[in-house]
Symmetry: C2
Subunit: 357 residues, 2 copies
Amino acid sequence: MRPPNVADVARAAGVSLGTVSNVLNNPDKVTPATRRRVEAAIASLGFVRNGAARSLAAGTSRTLGFVLTDLTNTFFLDLVRGAEEVTKAADLNILLANSDSRADKQRSYLDLFEEERVAGILLAPRQDLLEQVAPLRARGVRVVVLNADPPDGACSVQTDNVRGGYLATQHLIAGGCRRLMFAGAPRFPAVVDRLEGAKKAVDETAGAVTLEVVTTDGVTATDGHRIAALVDELPDEARPDGLIAGADLLALGVVQSTLVRGRLRIPEDLAVIGYDNNREAWSSLVPITTMDQAGEEMGRVAATMILEELRTPRQHKHRRVVMEPVLVPKASTRRTGREQHPHAASGPVSSAVAPEG
Amino acid sequence: MRPPNVADVARAAGVSLGTVSNVLNNPDKVTPATRRRVEAAIASLGFVRNGAARSLAAGTSRTLGFVLTDLTNTFFLDLVRGAEEVTKAADLNILLANSDSRADKQRSYLDLFEEERVAGILLAPRQDLLEQVAPLRARGVRVVVLNADPPDGACSVQTDNVRGGYLATQHLIAGGCRRLMFAGAPRFPAVVDRLEGAKKAVDETAGAVTLEVVTTDGVTATDGHRIAALVDELPDEARPDGLIAGADLLALGVVQSTLVRGRLRIPEDLAVIGYDNNREAWSSLVPITTMDQAGEEMGRVAATMILEELRTPRQHKHRRVVMEPVLVPKASTRRTGREQHPHAASGPVSSAVAPEG
DNA sequence: TTGAAAGCGGTACCAC
DNA sequence: GTGGTACCGCTTTCAA
């Protein structure tokens, strides 16, 4: 029992094959009466378009591939949601592939999407796996990189981590902190950038504020527990009054653990700021101030870039968009009498759109 | 600049088109020397197989579609990993679609996969969205349902939540608890089943153990914080000594919040058991006993079912596999002098394989 | 083993 | 507006 195809539909409706195709793709080019007949035939036969044949004939598919590093981080799902929002309006679909942070998986999914001739590929890679994009692009595959800095001129959307680290640190300083600590895992390039920004903010105080840097293995809550222990056991005069965590889960671990230890109050004795606006950290007993990377907006921008390239391939210029992260102040840094940001920013804003050719 | 196709490769290698296809699909049917020539041509031209054309000609694709409800829950990613493990050995790929718990998205992704003529669909749906599978299956699409109970005879893999609730409760009782509380959101069918199991275990004690049921809105850490407050403020004689949480994040909220309140000790005053083995709860300061649903194993079983159906469509019989969840004892229920499970179960075990036709 | 040719199911362009 | 038809790129059967 072969599934029905356009020819079957044409026969059942008493029209030609081309007309059926028109009903499917250019409905306005068909008389309402004819169209109704065709649609009835489609329904009664249970006809479902063959996407493979369609892609082959049309030379392009209606699908975008999205290769992701780490689906457990809600930030990446925000990217997906933003992108979906834009593409569904253009009748394009997004299919996901989870690379699980593994080079071989990322490669094999990129290859798969290339073979399937998807209309374009969105890639949120590990920074050190970026070398896989150049060969793809050389073969004419449309790629937009998210949350990483592609070496070749590919389209990309990223956030300014240096700036984010700077803003986070400024926030603590403005809140009255004088002895700062930065905790994070240097194996993540993003964390290194955030630290750089933190240093810059501290430098600008000309010695009024100090910064101690503590290295962790990862950026999980468990790593945060260790930091909390370390801070808790420091003598009073050596203890920081403000902590910049390289990521929200790390901050979450610090906050939870510190609360349980029950000695230091947050934010009075220790102000804590995270990074990511990771939903997993939202349930903290003391809500944690964080830097929002505007994941959905990044997804929207990336999808828009691909769409633009699809529609006007000739005049498309590759762009590198850098978004500014937005401070989301919460209780973990809210010191009495020093409300720095009474009105939380309502939404992230893009910036610094640099044409690149 | 049209990308190279098999014909180009054939020409460059000085062989016929069919030979190139054989190199690609039946390498052993080609002389090593010829094969090497073809492979060299492929490499030098940068030829990449066109998957659409391949699917069309072969009548079936090398891709499986996996539609998921909630990618933020690590349990679902375990399903994916397990399935990928099995399919990669069979040279099949898995593409993901996130339905975000929305009926329209789930439907549109199922439709997309059907159009693309994927080799089969894995579906981890919301229980109440199962009616979408029947029409698909009627049209001959291979579907395996995960973590839900399909009404029609579709293949499925699920865990026995009643049994899980029963085992969890027994564990607390064996640990010496006499006043139990069950907390969970009744809008999740799985939670209702777990409660049923809990009731059964309590009934078997013939009155020696009591069970109080508390309803929450959801199963997040925030809901857990409320439960903790409620328990903490209960008079001593009315307070439970054991809590069965409908899910791990709920348990996490209870534990964290209780620790911070600092009055009740865990597990001495209150033993807590969760459900899910959710990685997000692993970082709890007091590690939380949980019921593992063997996500990876479920994924493996589901993928195996699809593979079997692909290979031997005629003799394939639909099956309903029910897996037994496995207790993972940790500190949140480990009472001094009453070590009930000195050796944690090392791995999940499947059970109750019921042929269904 | 290798080569030639007939589809797979649509799309799009062409006349009518 | 509608119908006929030449492909799209690959797999597969059948002869040589």
